[in-house]
Amino acid sequence: MRVKFKILNPKHQTVVAVARFVAATFIFFCAQNSFALTGEEIMRRVDANMTYGTSRFESRMVINVDGELRTKNMVSYSRGRDTSYSEFTYPPRDKGVKYLKIENNMWMYLPSVDKVIKISGSMLRQSMMGSDFSYEDAMESNRLLDKYSARLVRSETVPVTFRAAGDPVTRQRDCYVVELEAKVKDVTYYKRLTWIDKELLVPVREDLFAMSGKLLKTMTLGDVRSFGSRNFPTYMKMVNHLRRNSFTEMHIEKIAFDIYVPDSVFSQSALTK
């Protein structure tokens, strides 16, 4: 948008001065309001930005152990915050393995036995498809406020990568640092420290702690892309600090939001299809 500047007469200058005052006051109150945001409000805004009616992702997961790489590809569909379906398409060994998540339930389909297996209890803590992500990490992407109380700890500037139409660009971004502390006992991570980009309202980093205070995992997010008025990180890196020299990267290569997805996709019968 091109802005035109004009030389103004004194009357106009008074109007401009008043306008500036009003604008400055507005910005001040906005800033005050922003500063007064609670941890819970920030998390709700993030949730509103990150939750879509439906979505479809094509992702590439790269597991890195001491420089040895294993790649897995998958296609995922989701609806709202609690329903998702994923199918592994590569490598051949994992092709056809599918996952269905509906609210607090998760099922896995193994094509070699043509059987749907319920993943429950502490099995959710186990590694998902040999990666640094656990089943629980995949399930706990939302509804964190049901299990955690949120507190704004501080603001901090951290590097975040962005990807438009080319190579990723790293920029320093102002972030809220929100501490999430468990309200219930049945959680793997007793405390989570989350960095939220103030402007884009996306998480860019998360440290996950055990009850003892030990740092278990660190997740870094980046390659933030804009979709309409909203923003979404298309890169995730999970480092499991309990394992040496290992991390898993997730690259979302194709993404579509608010598309038509038949109800039948989110059903157990779709797993055997």
């Binding site: 597991i63 294993r70 490598p91 509906i102 209890g121 803590r125």
Partner: protein, 348 residues
């Protein structure tokens, strides 16, 4: 989810199993089993697909070495071949896998694979059957599943129907099957979550017109410790089994009419993912009536994007004449053997 477009995909694997069996009578018998399995999937349309799975086994062996899934020295077989229609109900016709139940080792409601050493046997070695099957979705988490395995003599056709749904954190199912002309099997099973423990249960009441009925049931749970070690335990109750090894029906076992000799068994498994590429597992089955056991340690590692290696061992123990140490009762002489296995699989 089927893509809908006409497409053929060819996958499969080549597997080499180098096995050494140590017989109770002494000595080591080596064998080398080569397996080539193709998995051909043909998407004919949005609602029609076909799957064909031929396998070729080439076995270089010493003596009559018994290895699961290998029945001949040079064998080509069609493990599964079916067409599947997807619609308001899914219909599958042909040789296929029908796997019911929630147990890991014992599945009393599954008439085709009621007992599988799942920690030792490749899933592809399980029994497939020529059947007509229909699966009707009942909402998002429910399904009505029925099959018929036809026989020339219609009276010997096997059939079953099962209804499955989800209640809270539990999947629950009820089933009825007719595995034999005079036997009816009433089954229930569940899988869910109690206080962070994964729990499963499966029970079958078998009734016969000619004799009294009996119950087979399995119950178990699993838990993953903070250090990542997963512990899984399942108890199996087999009412027709015997509590004394002197009463065991060995003839029925070797004829394949029964899967277990005793009344009570327990399975305990420990597994730990070392890193994203390697894992260790220790599994054991104990016959609680004669205290014989099978111990199965295994180490698996992904050695390349398409190649997996596993080193496994089977160690048996017990007194002479017990289930896992049958001694001279076993006509093959291999019962109660110990085994070492090195398995390399190339997936494509």
């Amino acid at each position: 989810m089927s893509s809908g477009a006409f497409a053929l995909s060819v996958n499969g694997y080549y597997e080499n199993d180098l096995v050494i069996i140590n017989k109770p009578s002494g000595g080591a018998n080596p064998g080398d089993l080569n397996k080539l399995r193709l998995k051909l999937d043909l998407n004919i349309s949005e609602s029609l697909a076909a799957h064909i799975e031929p396998r070729y086994y080439f076995f270089i062996r010493d003596d009559n070495l018994p290895v699961a899934g290998a029945t001949g020295l040079d064998e080509l077989a069609l493990d599964s071949a079916y067409i599947k229609y997807y619609g308001a109900a899914n219909v599958t016709l042909g040789k296929q896998r029908i796997a019911w139940g929630t147990g890991y080792i014992w599945n009393p409601t599954d008439i085709f694979n009621p007992f599988v050493l799942s920690f030792a046997v490749n899933n592809d070695e399980e029994v497939n059957v020529k059947a007509a099957r229909i699966e009707v979705p009942l909402g998002m988490t429910g399904i009505l599943d029925g099959y018929v395995v036809p026989e020339e003599d219609r009276g010997f056709s096997r059939k079953g129907i099962r209804a499955k749904t989800n209640i809270g954190l539990f999947d629950v199912s009820a089933s009825i099957a007719a595995p034999e002309p005079d036997r009816t099997l009433y089954g229930v099973d569940f899988a869910g979550d109690v206080l962070g423990f994964g729990v499963i249960g499966e029970a079958a009441l078998n009734t016969r017109t000619s004799s009294s009925g009996y119950v087979q049931a399995v119950i178990g749970g699993d838990y993953t410790l903070d250090n990542g070690i997963n512990i899984q335990a399942q108890y199996y109750y087999n009412e027709p089994g015997k509590t004394s090894k002197a009463d065991y029906d060995w003839a029925a076992l070797y004829a394949g009419n029964i899967s277990q000799l005793a009344k009570s068994y327990i399975f305990v498994g420990f597994s730990k993912i070392i890193d994203e590429l390697a894992a260790v597992k220790l599994s054991t089955i104990i016959n609680l009536d004669d205290q014989s056991f099978m111990l199965y340690p295994a180490y698996t590692r992904s050695i390349a994007q398409y190649v997996d290696l596993s080193l496994e061992a089977m160690i048996t123990g017990g007194t002479e004449g017990s289930e896992f140490k049958p001694g001279t009762i076993d006509p093959t002489g291999f019962g109660g053997s110990n085994m070492l296995l090195c398995r390399v699989i190339y997936n494509f």
